[in-house]
């Protein structure tokens, strides 16, 4: 009977499978199906209504079947349970999808499959009865299943084998599970099946990762990770278990199915592939390009016959998917692409890969000169020959493969006393113990997590398998060693651990996938561009030389390399395959993984309670403690090391520090930036744009914008990173000398914590009065706080100096990336040119330049600038001053520590000293013009933010006060504002305003300086008042009781003066603020594009805490910044827009200058000049200052000659003004207001921008 129904039902279904447009009905039916799912049918499909002939027969049959089924179930419910109790071995069978419940389901489905829609009264009654009966039966079955399931969970520890065969909800698909023909035959037929039902595509097809729920993100990451760690059966198992439960199936997306399918395709496992495909169809999804890529790949691997492939391709084109797109839109590795191609060639032997599009060239007007075809032929060379560069590359590669760098600490080495040796030995013993314990705990955890997956639950198992166990253990021990004495917040530690795991994983993957060899090949070729002893012809000949691994791909024509050849263009022209992109894990996975690792560390590490006890009989105590810290209402979990362990570390005073590879400057030129995720470090992943934790929108924006738009930024960053550095040894010696003695806080060399003041009385007798004790406690707390602060300063300096010492005598590079506004930063955090005075003084250009005719003068001016003595004097006076104090300069250079110490009085003492030495060397040289200088000379923008505002608004007065207008003496905007305020004050005083009279003689540059400076960065009246109040309080002779009133008055006057002087500025600021406010009100965050083409988005949204990882030591709560469904934070959007916009302009100016500097012709014969920047402070060799100044001014004029505000307005209108206008009236009004505001661009003044070119003090 059941067999009969089976066949007929299937036939009927086949007919019913034509897509029918009645999703609502179908969906309802699906719900009726209840938990047991399999009983859903397509009986409601209208097309079956007219199958009258079968109707009666069907009913009779149905009733019979139902009754039989009830009897059967009743019988089974007893017998099965009994059986299960007795026979455990039968249980796993249930899970395999073909077990107990299958036959009855077949009966059921076949029956309902034929049920027509009744028309007459009796039929309705019957229908009703039937429905009731069905419901009863469903209930029964559900109960039964639950019973069995709960039992099975108790009985079996975990199923011994993984599920392979899916349990399908749709019967017509289930046919394919038992094929009459081979799996290969099945495939095209499955493809032709229509999806089971139309899913609501709106909710079900999230386009980006950010739109997935946390659980979905975790699942997807799990599947991807399984692919990497060869746990495909596990992934398949989880997919099947999720698919077979309706509630869990909702979590699955096409991406997840595709991922598993791809995994099977790589293995050429046809049966499993078809299983997944069946599930895709069963879930109501339509295979997309990725699915087809997997299918074709699998067929390519199996050497499938042409017929099957042809049917596949046909089906593909029927679904509107283009064959070409397989090779352009799907990220496949070369080998995979070749396999797919092999399959395609069987059917279409003539098919050829779509030609690689020729490298597009940026057409922005600002960059036209940079990318012009007739520029200089070669890129500026480094001073090093090819051989040296290649060996440097080897070194850097080794460092990155090891993921860590051991550096000798510059702390004074501890004397080898007995104590120290003992401590080191103890530490070593402990570490050996911990290593073993960690290994064991890691294995236990992995076992436990694997069981979780077997039970059909997500777990971190594959993520823990990514790295070699030893490597994980080493990483954990390294973290333990670096843990600060006062502990580290648990969340931070978890983040750190998962980040390190990810970074190591990427490196390892690149190593294993042979990318390192490819990198080596291409990098060696790339070095020809930079090395001093190689020539690069117009079209790099290297491209043709040597058999590159991508033999198939290189058969298309050599791309035309535009000249001049920038590093990025050169790299692209070499045809290096793009490095495999590793998607960072979603935040929930990161946090969970980090947490798991941290917990293992806590669990595994133990030490004897008293370390002095040599018998080892004392009990073991944990090394790490989970302590809570209480801050206001917050309770923060902290991992704190045992004080005895801290003490032990201190006594042992181990002489090495361990850094992550990415925290150390590079030993070879960084990889050129070629895309938002490739560049900088050789292997370690680096982001082009640094962002807050978990925010993905920036990266997405960068990925989706046209590649040419980013060229400017990519090339500028590459340019900055290509500057070679070296350590100034003489300065380092002096700093180390101070550091290893007692430090010198006055000169910025922190003292050791042992130098912190000690409380007068270390110990009070027990009998002392409580008040006395209280006093002592306060003193003690003060001292301890100071000691802690000193300790952290000292540690920072220790890192910096140790790295400097480590790099002494070497050439190194600082790869750069940028923040979300385009401002550039060096990646290595501890030692770079953005740091303090000491850090800057320690660095100099590795490449020297002869001073030339004017170089020495620039050196002297730079020296005077660094002292800060002659800020408001013209250049020639500064020069004259340098001559005046030449004696002091030479004295400082010769005997810095013993002489008159003139340099110590300077504003930037260490840089002054370095400059003194350089000047002394140059002066004493027989021919100063030929002296080769390595010292960077700085040129600073004077109040750069206001300069940009003044240029935007073409304010004549404002422009003059920030040196856009040529002038003999440098203008000082702060004095200008002070003078203007004074004018207003005098007027008010005459009118009899009391405050104005009070303030007579108190309005100075100093009082207004901070406010004026920060106005550009969006300081409000409130903040401005606080700043001025602070200044007034510092004035001893000002009557303090008037401070509030006076500061209130002054801030108004300062704003008024600024408005007067920079009339355009305030208007622009106001316009920006208002626009941002309205955009935010419409529910969007502000976005814009810099003149260079970098897309920018303000990430400020209303914070929203996600309580995430529960259980274990503590639950972790974190803010999910990537959540783009959150409403924008209007206040931050509004206050942030003006300063961020100005920053995006100043970064554009810097990048333009950097890009144009390389192709300008300095006075000597060499081409290109060295250029680095600290935001609005530009550095170059003394010989090239004049050229750089010229470029800098020209580029400023070029930048501001563009209709920047009009472009911004146009962009914002097109981006944020809804078209067509919204339906709701309130929204309509808001939209029109927004449009009106956006289009009301402030009118510029009459300042002639060209005059900037002749202004000496614009940057000086």
């Amino acid at each position: 009977m059941s067999v009969l129904c089976w066949g007929r039902g299937a036939a009927g279904l086949r007919r019913a499978l034509q897509p029918c447009g009645c999703p609502g009905l179908l969906a309802k039916e699906g719900i009726l199906g209840g938990v047991c799912g399999p009983r859903r049918s397509s009986s409601a499909s209208p097309q079956e209504q007219d199958q009258d002939r079968r109707k009666d027969w069907g009913h009779v049959e149905l009733l019979e079947v139902l009754q039989a089924r009830v009897r059967q179930l009743q019988a089974e419910s007893v017998s099965e349970v009994v059986v299960n109790r007795v026979d455990v071995a039968r249980l796993p069978e249930r899970g395999s999808g073909d077990g107990g419940p299958q036959p009855p389901r077949k009966v059921q489905r076949g029956a309902t499959g034929a049920s027509p829609v009744p028309r007459s009264g009796w039929a309705q009654r019957l229908e009703k009865d039937k429905r009731i009966q069905r419901m009863h039966m469903q209930q029964l079955e559900v109960n039964l299943q639950m019973q069995v399931q709960s039992q099975s969970e108790e009985l079996k520890v975990w199923p011994k084998h993984l599920q392979v065969e899916p349990r399908l909800l749709s019967k017509q698909l289930a046919v394919f599970l038992a094929p009459e023909s081979s799996w290969e035959e099945q495939l095209p037929r499955v493809l032709q099946e229509a999806p089971r039902k139309l899913r609501l595509t709106v909710g079900r097809a999230p386009s980006t990762q950010a739109q997935l729920s946390g659980q979905q993100q975790k699942l997807l990451a799990f599947f991807k990770c399984c692919l990497l760690t060869n746990h495909l059966p596990l992934a398949h198992h989880l997919l099947v278990t999720h698919h077979s439960q309706q509630r869990k199936q909702k979590l699955l997306t096409l991406d997840m199915y595709n991922t598993v399918m791809l995994g099977w395709a790589r293995q050429g496992a046809f049966r499993e592939l078809v299983y997944v495909l069946l599930m895709v169809k069963d879930a109501g999804l339509t295979p997309d390009l990725l699915s087809y890529a997997a299918i074709l790949q699998c067929m390519g691997r199996r050497g499938q016959d042409a017929g099957t492939i042809e049917r596949c391709l046909k089906q593909m084109s029927q679904e509107g998917l283009k064959l070409q797109a397989l090779f352009t839109a799907v990220p496949l590795s070369e080998e995979e692409q070749a396999t797919v191609l092999k399959a395609v060639h069987k059917v279409k032997p003539t098919f050829s890969l779509p030609p690689r599009p020729p490298p597009a060239v940026n057409t922005s007007k600002l960059l036209r000169a940079v990318y012009a075809k007739d520029g200089p032929v070669s890129y500026p060379k480094l001073h090093l020959p090819l051989k040296t560069l290649q060996s440097l590359f080897e070194k850097q590669l080794c460092v990155e493969l090891a993921s860590k760098v051991c550096v000798v600490s510059v702390e004074k080495p501890a004397l080898p006393s007995k104590e120290v040796t003992h401590a080191r030995k103890t530490l070593q013993t402990l570490r050996d113990h911990w290593e073993k314990a960690l290994c064991r705990v890691l294995q236990e955890t992995k076992n436990h997590l694997e069981v979780e997956v077997h039970k059909g639950r997500f777990s971190l198992y594959p993520f823990l398998c990514l790295l070699d166990e030893r490597e994980v253990v080493q990483m954990l021990l390294q973290v333990l060693q670096a843990l600060p004495a006062q502990g580290e917040s648990f969340t931070t530690l978890a983040r750190e651990l998962s980040a390190r795991t990810f970074s190591r994983h990427v490196v390892q993957r690149r190593r294993l996938s042979g990318q390192v060899q490819a990198l080596e090949t291409y990098y060696r070729k790339y070095l020809h561009l930079l090395a001093s002893d190689t020539k690069v012809r117009r079209a790099p000949p290297l491209l043709l030389a040597g058999a590159s691994p991508d033999a198939q791909l290189s058969d298309h024509p050599v791309p035309q390399v535009p000249n001049p050849c920038l590093p990025r263009q050169y790299w692209e022209a070499l045809g290096a395959p793009e490095a495999l992109r590793e998607q960072p894990w979603p935040l929930p996975v990161q946090m969970e993984l980090g947490k798991q690792l941290a917990e293992m560390l806590v669990q595994a590490t133990r030490m004897p309670s008293s370390l002095d006890n040599r018998h080892g009989s004392s009990r073991l105590v944990p090394v790490l403690y989970h302590v809570y810290s209480f801050r206001n209402v917050q309770q923060i979990g902290i991992l704190k090391p045992h004080p005895a362990y801290v003490q032990l570390l201190e006594t042992a005073a181990e002489p090495t520090l361990t850094f992550e590879a990415v925290d150390v400057p590079m030993l070879c030129p960084p990889l050129p930036w070629t895309s938002p995720h490739t560049g900088a470090f050789l292997l370690s992943p680096t982001k082009l744009m640094r962002t807050v934790e978990g925010a993905t929108q920036h990266q997405e924006l960068l990925e989706t914008c046209p590649p040419t738009a980013l060229h400017g930024a990519l090339d500028a960053l590459t340019q900055l990173g290509n500057c070679a550095w070296r350590v100034n040894g003489r300065v380092l010696d002096l700093v180390l000398q101070l550091f290893q003695a007692k430090g010198c806080p006055k000169l910025g060399v922190p003292a050791p914590a042992s130098e912190a003041p000690q409380p007068a009385e270390a110990h009070v007798p027990q009998s002392a009065a409580p008040a006395r004790k209280a006093e002592l406690r306060r003193e003690l707390a003060r001292c301890q706080k100071l000691a802690r602060e000193m300790h952290s300063l000292r540690a920072e300096a220790l890192y910096r100096l140790s790295l400097a010492q480590h790099l002494r005598g070497r050439v190194f590079w600082l790869p750069h990336n940028m923040d979300f506004r385009g401002r550039t930063y060096p990646c290595p955090p501890h030692f770079n040119h953005l740091g303090s005075d000491v850090a800057r003084a320690l660095l100099e250009f590795a490449q020297g330049r002869p001073l030339g005719p004017h170089g020495l003068d620039w050196l002297k001016i730079h020296l005077v600038n660094l002292t800060g003595f002659k800020k408001r004097e013209p250049l020639r006076k500064r020069l004259a001053f340098a001559e005046e104090v030449m004696d002091d300069i030479l004295d400082s250079a010769d005997q810095p520590m013993t002489g008159r110490k003139w340099w110590m009085g300077a504003e930037e003492p260490w840089q002054t000293l370095a400059c003194c030495m350089e000047v002394a060397n140059a002066v004493r040289c027989s021919d100063p013009a030929a002296y080769v200088s390595h010292l960077p000379v700085h040129q600073d923008g004077s109040c750069n933010g206001l300069q940009h505002y003044a240029a935007l608004g073409r304010d004549s007065v404002g422009a003059a006060s920030v040196n856009l207008e040529p002038s003999d003496v440098p203008q000082d905007v702060y004095s200008g504002v002070a003078a203007q305020v004074e004018v207003f004050r005098r007027q008010d005083a005459q009118r009899g305003t009391r405050v104005a009279q009070m303030l007579e003689g108190f309005i100075t540059r100093k009082v207004v300086k901070q406010t004026v400076m920060t106005v550009v960065y969006g300081v409000t009246r409130y903040g401005g008042r606080l700043q001025i109040e602070k200044r007034l309080r510092e004035l001893t002779d000002f009557p303090q009781e008037f401070v509030w009133e006076a500061s209130h008055y002054l801030v108004r006057q300062v704003f008024k003066s600024l408005q007067e002087m920079f009339s355009g500025t305030r208007a622009i600021q106001h316009w920006l603020t208002e626009s941002a406010r309205l955009i935010s009100h419409m529910g969007s965050v502000v976005e814009w594009v810099t003149p260079l083409g970098i897309p920018i988005i303000q990430p400020y949204r209303l914070e929203h805490k996600v309580k995430q990882v529960r259980g274990g030591i503590q639950s972790i709560t974190y803010i999910h910044n990537g959540d783009i469904s959150q409403k924008p934070n209007t206040r931050k959007q509004k206050n942030g827009f003006p300063p961020n916009f100005i920053h995006s302009l100043d970064s554009s100016h810097m990048m333009l200058t950097a890009l144009h500097c390389y192709r300008s012709r300095p006075l000597c014969r060499r081409k290109g000049l060295t250029f680095v920047s600290v935001h609005d402070c530009y550095w170059t060799h003394a010989a090239d200052v004049a050229v750089m100044n010229q470029v800098c001014r020209e580029q400023f004029v070029c930048l501001h000659s563009e209709p920047i505000l009009e472009d911004l307005s146009r962009f914002l209108v097109s981006r944020f003004c809804p078209n067509p206008t919204p339906r709701k009236i309130s929204q309509c009004w808001e939209a029109s207001q927004l449009k009106e505001t956006l289009q009301a661009v402030p009118k510029p003044g009459a300042f002639d921008l060209e005059r900037v070119k002749h202004s000496t003090y614009f940057f000086s």
Partner: protein, 396 residues
């Protein structure tokens, strides 16, 4: 019940006239002025020669104080004032203590106290009351001193410049001629007042820190505090394991530090409640209705003489606080679990020493148990490292 009106400042007079209850409760001063009907103001101003106080811009009222729940409560009923004066001053044959009265307001209670023979220092945070209060002490040759000061803002913990009505205890007590006395000596002075209706908890915490660290007012000895406190906070303050639902950190802190006596109870329902818009008659606001069903308790908190007798001292009190916060952070857990995060010592051993079982829950520990627990660990001698605590764990 009738009180002399002429000398009273403007805003008070209104409420005093209208207020029939035993307390009178005022909304914040600025708000009252603003919402006064103009006619009324003029009419009253005629009989009062004082100028309207200038609005003080330097300390604009905080937003929080605008809340209609932010009342100021004053004793305006003479009978109650007399009762309270008797309670606070104690038996007539004892030498009277110096008494600090916080926010006396209209001064009804002040008068009663003076009549009872006490020497009173009135610390008034609202400037408008000060002239009237000063007039009360005219003929008493120094038995009453009036100072513009907010008792709850003496030595603010936030640091920074101290502007009136905030004050430094050093200056205040020097001005009053109060000398420091040792902890074990008697009570140097008494304080009478009411906890601010909002922020009772904050005030309690501040006082607790001051007390344990022997700083601020407690630098001068074991100062006795008599305060009215709301019912809710009162119950929590007095809670112990028998009442574990309300038991929390402050209960332990205060019960360990002080002897707490309940002197008097006064139901809210007999008061008139004043909000910004005047007297509140039939309210439907839930918060106010809830308040009206509660009582106010006058409690006396005398620091224990033996508080610092053992190893708990002003040197290590913050570790004790941390221990309590940690324990009550997860109060359903066992003590031993918390001990493992607090000290590297053997937790089971410690529990045995204080005679507790290993599975003792936090909420089953009496305040004195906590003190004993702390002192046991603190005085354990065989170990160098007793605590994992350091100052970074807390923002003091």
């Amino acid at each position: 019940m009738w009180i002399p009106v002429a000398g009273l400042p403007l805003q008070l007079r209104l409420s005093a006239l209208a207020g029939a209850g035993r307390f009178c409760i005022l909304g914040s001063g600025a708000a009252m002025r603003k919402h006064l009907p103009a006619r009324n103001r003029r009419g009253l101003a005629d009989s009062s020669p004082q100028l309207l106080p200038e609005p003080d811009f330097r300390n604009p009222p905080r937003k929080a104080s605008r809340s209609s729940l932010d009342f100021k409560r004053y004793v305006t009923d003479r009978r109650l004032a007399t009762t309270l004066a008797q309670i606070v001053c104690g038996k007539p044959n004892r030498p009277p203590h110096l008494l600090l009265e916080c926010n006396p307001g209209p001064g009804i209670l002040t008068e009663a106290l003076l009549e009872a023979g006490a020497t009173v220092v009135a610390l008034e945070s609202d400037k408008t009351f000060i002239p009237h209060l000063e007039s009360l002490g005219k003929n008493l040759d120094g038995k009453l001193r009036v100072i513009h000061c907010d008792f709850f803002r003496i030595d603010p913990r936030s640091g920074g410049a101290i502007k009136p009505p905030a004050m430094s205890s050093e200056g205040l007590f020097k001005n009053l001629g109060v000398e420091e006395v040792p902890w074990t000596a008697g009570v140097p002075l008494k304080v009478f007042g009411m906890f601010p209706s909002r922020g009772e908890k904050r005030a309690l915490w501040k006082l607790a820190y001051d007390l344990y660290s022997c700083s601020s007012i407690y630098k001068f000895g074991r100062i006795e505090i008599n305060m009215f406190i709301g019912e809710k906070e009162f119950q929590k303050l007095m809670a112990d394991p028998r009442n574990r639902g309300l038991y929390y950190v402050l209960s332990v802190v205060w019960q360990v530090a002080c002897e707490i006596k309940v002197l008097h109870m006064e139901p809210w329902s007999s008061f008139d409640v004043y909000t910004r818009s005047g007297r509140l008659e039939n309210t439907k606001r839930k918060e106010v209705l809830e308040l009206l069903q509660q009582n106010l308790y006058l409690i006396q908190m005398t620091p224990r003489r033996n508080l610092f007798a053992n190893s708990l001292t002003p040197m290590n009190y913050n570790i004790f606080f941390h221990l309590l916060k940690h324990c009550f952070g997860k109060r359903s857990a066992t003590v031993i679990d918390h001990l493992r995060s607090l000290t590297p010592l053997d937790a089971a051993d410690i529990l045995m020493q204080i005679g507790k079982k290993e599975d003792e829950k936090v909420v089953n520990m009496y305040p004195e148990d906590f003190k004993r627990l702390f002192e046991t660990i603190e005085s354990s001698e065989d170990c160098t490292y007793k605590w994992l605590y350091d100052d970074t764990l807390e923002d003091v």
